[in-house]
């Protein structure tokens, strides 16, 4: 946002947009693994329980 002249965006707007960007990056950063897990859970016919989906250890 720093390269935009001030008459296009006010300083408050720039700050607000920077905050929104960093917040959305944090959400995507921590939400990506649960999203991948949700896709696997939702597209499996016999919905497996969450523990067996989460656990990387081989289930017997």
């Amino acid at each position: 946002m720093a390269y935009l002249p001030s008459f296009i965006l006010s300083d408050e707007s720039k700050e607000r947009m920077t905050k929104i960007f960093s917040l959305s990056q944090t959400v995507a950063h921590y939400g990506w693994l649960p999203f991948v897990l949700y896709l696997g859970w939702a597209h499996t016919a016999n919905r497996p329980n969450l523990f067996s989906l989460l656990s990387p250890l081989p289930s017997v």
Binding site: Q25, V36, L39, G40, L53, S55, P56, P58, S59
Partner: protein, 443 residues
């Protein structure tokens, strides 16, 4: 050792008819695998599991300087991926390690794309304690195209997003790459010259491939260009049917020329050599690498030598087929002249037909002996004259675990800055610069 998630990705590519060898990125994969193989650092343990037919997970723990780990999950759609991914107990060793890449001619890969349906792969890996996220999405759009998005996200450092658009029509491979790192834009192309089977059906011709590729890169923010071009020729030895690969790379900007020659000298030995030369600095380097495979005794498979001997012996032992005359029956006019012509034709063509059959059977039997072999371990060596280093690696299976152990020996301390390398060297014997063991277990 190929990472479990990388194995799943390769199975996904195979199941969706994508040929990873037909890309400029992997044009020198064979020599890279044999000369620049990666040696693990420290102790690394990896446990993987396939919780459902479409979801896979991996947990990794390593003690490289500090204890760190990662947790990875993968979900993919597509038929047969779950059943095709093997566990560490059952996977063939030649599929679990990076080794000689057998390049299939173009026409042999067309069958795999029939019955295509769009599918996708989602992958995420979180590293601890740094909380760095590695994410990837592969989307197969059509039988010929795929879109790949890779992201390295870090809250403390700069994140990098890279997009790849790839189109593989078999004869041509094109790829556009856009990266947020320095606003990098790239274009890679690969062209296969031999597109279809020969009408003469000569076996050697049909099992050879000649590819020419090039790449162009441009960093928009730092306005720096880069480019290179590579020629690859893969064929088989006419007498023994053993595959060999030659590549010649040239970087015009840096004046760097690199040529490699890799050959499978037998079903359990591979040799690769590489010669680098710089046109501007007149500096050169010669590298040599080899790998030796060890067979297990559990599966009773005839040895490769027996196969080759059989293949050589078979045509001579067989009598000339009597029905070859039938091929030219329409030329028969009843006269003695035409009968003579027919006999001449039979003599001329029958010998070449025998030769073709013999070559084909030798190549096929050699490939079959590789697939049937129950390899249990592989030992690798690589050395380079200019770098004066020696890399040794052992990879194998022990009680269901895939183990990779290796070391790199160098006679110059690697941590010294470049201006201090000229210090008087008293000791010239090799010191271990790197050492590591990796354990991998998957169900």
């Amino acid at each position: 050792m190929i990472d479990y998630m990388q194995q799943v990705l390769r199975v996904f590519e195979t199941c969706t008819g994508w040929n990873r060898d037909n890309s400029y990125e992997n044009i020198t994969a064979t020599s890279e695998n044999l000369l620049n193989f990666s040696i693990p650092e420290g102790l690394k343990c990896q446990i993987s599991n396939s919780s459902t037919a479409h979801t896979f997970s991996t947990f990794e723990l390593s003690n490289n300087t500090v204890i760190n780990g990662s947790l990875a999950y993968l979900y993919c759609t597509g038929k047969g991926v779950g059943s095709s991914v093997s566990s560490s107990r059952t996977v063939q060793l030649q599929d679990a390690v990076e080794t000689y890449r057998q390049i299939r001619p173009l026409y042999q890969n067309r069958e795999a794309r029939k019955g295509f349906e769009p599918c996708a792969l989602w992958f995420g890996r979180m590293y601890y304690p740094s909380s760095t996220l590695e994410a990837m999405v592969v989307k197969r759009l059509s039988p010929e195209t795929q879109l790949v998005a890779k992201c390295l996200s870090s809250l403390a450092h700069t994140s990098v997003l890279t997009l790849y658009w790839q189109r593989d029509s078999g004869k041509n491979f094109q790829e556009w790459v856009v990266s947020s790192n320095e606003a990098l834009v790239g274009y890679r192309v690969l062209h296969n010259f031999v597109g279809s089977q020969s009408k003469l059906n000569t076996s050697l011709y049909n099992n050879s491939s000649l590819s020419l590729g090039a790449e162009l890169w441009f960093g928009l923010l730092n306005t720096s260009p880069a480019c290179s071009t590579t020629l690859r020729y893969c064929t088989h030895s006419a007498n023994t049917g053993k595959p060999l690969t030659l590549t010649l790379s040239w970087n015009p900007l840096f004046g760097h020329v690199s040529s490699t020659y890799s050959v499978k000298t037998s079903s359990n030995a591979t040799i690769s050599t590489k010669f680098d030369f710089n046109l501007y600095s007149i500096e050169s380097n010669l590298s040599f690498g080899c790998e030796l495979w060890r067979r297990g005794a559990s599966r009773a498979v005839p040895t490769e030598n027996a196969f080759v001997q059989d293949a050589v012996r078979a045509p001579s032992a067989q009598k000339r087929p009597t029905d070859t005359k039938d091929m030219f029956y329409h030329l028969m006019a009843g006269s003695s002249n035409s009968q003579k012509l027919l006999d001449d034709l039979n003599v001329t063509f029958a010998s070449s037909l025998h030769k073709i059959n013999r070559e084909r059977s030798i190549i096929q039997k050699f490939e079959k002996s590789l697939i049937d072999s129950n390899f249990t371990s592989v030992c690798r060596l690589s050395t380079s004259l200019r770098d004066k280093n020696l890399k040794v690696q052992w990879e194998g299976r022990y009680k269901g675990f895939l183990i990779s152990a290796g070391t790199e020996l160098a006679n110059t301390p690697l941590d010294l800055p470049a201006n201090m390398v000229d210090e008087p060297k008293t000791a010239s014997f090799f010191k271990p610069a790197k050492f590591g063991v990796q354990l991998q277990f998957s169900m």
